[in-house]
């Protein structure tokens, strides 16, 4: 046992590569295509073109047109087709080109993807992953920058996952594909080609539903995920100068939320800042507030602050930075809860 662990570690050391997040996702898809003949990919421009962000680059070449399928421009149609494939024992991994184009498939997700298992008392399941790049900050056209994870957090029957590092991206993606239930896998475009990180070449999994403490701290807890993580970390760093010790937690899964990690941290610090780029009202931030209310009411020493996108459509790119949470807004919120 101990031996194999060592061997494994060596292997990791030999084979780990420095990858960007988009490369790590590509690697995760490749890993699962290799491992399981039931896995196949569907989406617009994912085959020959390798995806508009190159997430599936080279995969059709390697696995063929039956495994990596260029679909017609038809989100409802191919998510619906994926439902059929899942009914028939396959594990489709669907790419929605941008999260803002998931809306035409909303019907399929809300009434079938999420309900098939319940509807058949578990006789049929929907082992399906819907991948979608999301978020603002990369000068995309209108609708391409939406961050509407909250809609899916509300729909019962689908998990919602969002990595913030290359390592997590691969590990969470593999876990999502292996999961017996549907997962919406949100990919922060803004971090696609950001910092590289060592990513093991083998198959590894990060448990869904578990957050991670990225920075230990005592005074204020910061909850964030995806593209907001670098901002959370930057703010926490800045606060060190003011001797405010921040605990930064990457939630990683938005449904189900990691209740234990939330409660533990809040019960330690008593002060909370939540960051997300989705709209404030009805956002996941409010759900986290509600979980804290339920688990940790008596520990709170200040009202929770949310630093979020606004209740406005995500603006065209000239104003997208005014829409997005900034380090400045986060540090202001930290100071506010700290000095309450």
């Amino acid at each position: 046992m101990a031996l194999s662990k060592v061997a494994n570690k060596q292997e990791v050391q030999v084979r780990a590569q420095e990858l960007t997040m988009i490369q790590a996702i590509n690697d995760g898809l490749k890993t699962m295509l290799e491992k399981d003949a039931k896995v196949l990919l569907l989406g617009e421009d994912i085959g020959k073109n390798g995806g508009v962000f190159r997430a599936t680059d080279g995969l059709q070449n390697k696995f063929g047109e039956k495994r990596v399928i260029d679909t017609p421009l038809s989100e409802a149609g191919f998510v619906g087709a994926a439902v059929g494939m899942a009914l028939n024992g396959l594990k489709p991994v669907v790419e929605i080109q941008f999260l803002g184009f998931v809306y035409p498939a909303f019907e399929q997700i809300a009434t079938h993807v999420t309900r098939m298992r319940t509807r058949t008392l578990g006789y049929y399941s929907m082992p399906m992953v819907i991948r979608a790049p999301y978020g603002a900050g990369v000068r995309s056209p209108e609708i391409h920058s939406d961050s509407v994870e909250a809609l899916f957090v509300h729909l019962p029957g689908i998990k919602v996952v969002c990595p913030s590092t290359p390592y997590d991206a691969k590990g969470l993606l593999i876990a999502s594909i292996a999961d017996p239930d549907p997962v919406l896998f949100l990919e922060p475009m803004r971090l696609y080609r950001g910092k590289r990180q060592e990513v093991p070449a083998h198959d590894y999994r990060i448990e869904l539903g578990k957050g991670e403490i990225i920075l230990q701290g005592e005074d204020v807890t910061i909850f964030a995920w995806g593209a907001m993580m670098p901002i959370a970390m930057e703010a926490a760093e800045l606060m060190k100068e003011e001797r405010i010790s921040c605990e930064v937690i990457d939630l990683r899964t938005l449904y189900p939320l990691d209740k234990a990690i939330i409660a533990d941290s809040v019960q330690k610090t008593g002060r909370v800042v939540i960051i997300h780029e989705g709209h404030e009202t009805g956002g996941v931030g409010s759900e986290i507030v509600s979980v804290i209310m339920e688990t940790s009411f008596l520990y709170l020493r200040a009202p929770i602050e949310k630093v979020t996108g606004f209740d406005v459509p995500v603006p065209l790119f000239a104003l997208e930075h005014a829409y997005l949470p900034t380090t400045e807004r986060v540090t202001e919120a930290i100071q506010k809860v700290y000095s309450f």
């Binding site: 017609p72 087709a81 059929g84 009914l87 009434t111 049929y124 029957g157």
Partner: protein, 354 residues
């Protein structure tokens, strides 16, 4: 367009052959099978309406008038084929092999009624209109991927053709030559909307042109014609030639559901008046008489058997174990999330509620 897609018929209104070449396949035994299933689902359907009136089940969706379309199509299917019915196609489901007890449970608001048949791959009736067409496409693509000769059939109404999912499901199937049959029952109405206001096209079958696939327009009151149309389409599917769109022209004799009052939007008296003339069961009876294979006693014995089967199923439904509150929580995910588990425990601690 009516000329381009002539109405396929095997027998005329009086049950006489129009296409005698099919005589061989339609042996006495086979014809009796057709009649038996049509009688069975007709009887069931009448029972369904009655049970609803007596308050023993919830809203019921009658299909009287559509028996030939439903039986003819279902009998064409192979054992390993997949069926995607709507809420109105329980006649087809029952014919293919759905479980009568579960079917009744479904009308009683029981999730157990959504369970696929014990024998056949019959999917839960699709409630949101046309959304199951892409599923049939995907199931068919998966069969192709596995290299089988199995096919899928999707049932849908005239109204369903207006939905985007109708279009997307067929388009994708056409591109990938998926082994699927799109079986439309044009019963002339989507609740209150007559088909002339649903679309500007003279027929539904002509929509096949949009996808470069074959279309067959068939007399949906002629169970034989439907059977051959679907058989032909299935054969195409199994041999890699892709999907077919079939329009079965039929009629809904009664209300949209037991909650509907058709006299609000059509001359229901007129329909009741012509009903017998076009009734698919009577037509089959005429056919059997014409071929000299009709025996009233035989019908009587069929009916007795069907009644007994129905009574047993109704008893089963009415004595079925109470719904289990846990069922609501236990199948959302393979492993319940903590929110679901918390909610379940809370409800159970309060004594299971309701």
């Amino acid at each position: 367009m009516r000329e381009k897609y002539p109405l396929l018929q095997i027998m005329d209104q009086e049950g006489k052959w129009l296409d005698e070449s099919k005589r061989e396949v339609l042996s006495e035994e086979k014809v009796k099978q057709f009649y038996y299933h049509m009688l069975r689902i007709r009887t069931y359907d009448q029972k369904g309406v009655a049970l609803q009136r007596q308050g023993r089940i919830g809203t019921y969706v009658p299909f009287a008038g559509q028996e030939a379309a439903q039986v003819g199509s279902a009998l064409a299917l192979g054992n390993e084929d997949w069926m995607f019915p709507t809420y109105r196609d329980h006649g087809a489901s029952l014919t293919f092999g759905a479980d009568l007890d579960r079917m009744l449970l479904h009308w009683n608001g029981r999730i157990e009624g959504c369970l696929p048949s014990r024998e056949k791959k019959i999917m839960p009736a699709s409630i949101p209109i046309a959304t199951h067409l892409p599923h049939a496409t995907g199931v068919a693509m998966a069969e192709e991927y596995k290299g089988t000769r199995n096919a899928a059939i999707a049932y849908f109404g005239d109204g369903a053709t207006s939905e985007g999912d109708f279009h997307e499901g067929i388009n994708i199937a056409s591109v990938f030559k998926a082994p699927v049959v799109f079986f439309n029952q044009n019963n002339g109405y989507a609740i209150s909307l007559p088909v002339e206001k649903q679309m500007n096209s003279e027929t539904i079958v002509q929509k096949s042109a949009a996808y470069g696939i074959p279309g067959i327009r068939v007399d949906g009151m002629d169970a034989f014609a439907v059977y051959f149309a679907v058989s032909e389409a299935l054969e195409r599917a199994r041999t890699g030639k892709g999907p077919t769109l079939i329009e079965a022209v039929t009629m809904r004799f009664g209300a949209h559901t037991t909650a509907d009052d058709p006299s609000k939007y059509r001359d229901q008296d007129e329909i009741n008046r012509i009903r017998d003339e076009v009734d698919p069961l009577l037509r089959m009876e005429k056919h059997m008489k014409y071929r000299g294979i009709w025996k009233p006693a035989w019908r009587g014995s069929l009916e007795a058997g069907i009644q007994e089967e129905l009574e047993t199923a109704i008893k089963c439904m009415e004595t079925y174990e109470q719904p289990d509150v846990s069922a609501m929580f236990d199948h959302v995910f393979a492993e319940p999330t903590w929110t679901i588990e918390k909610q379940k425990q809370h409800i159970l601690s309060m004594g299971g509620s309701s």
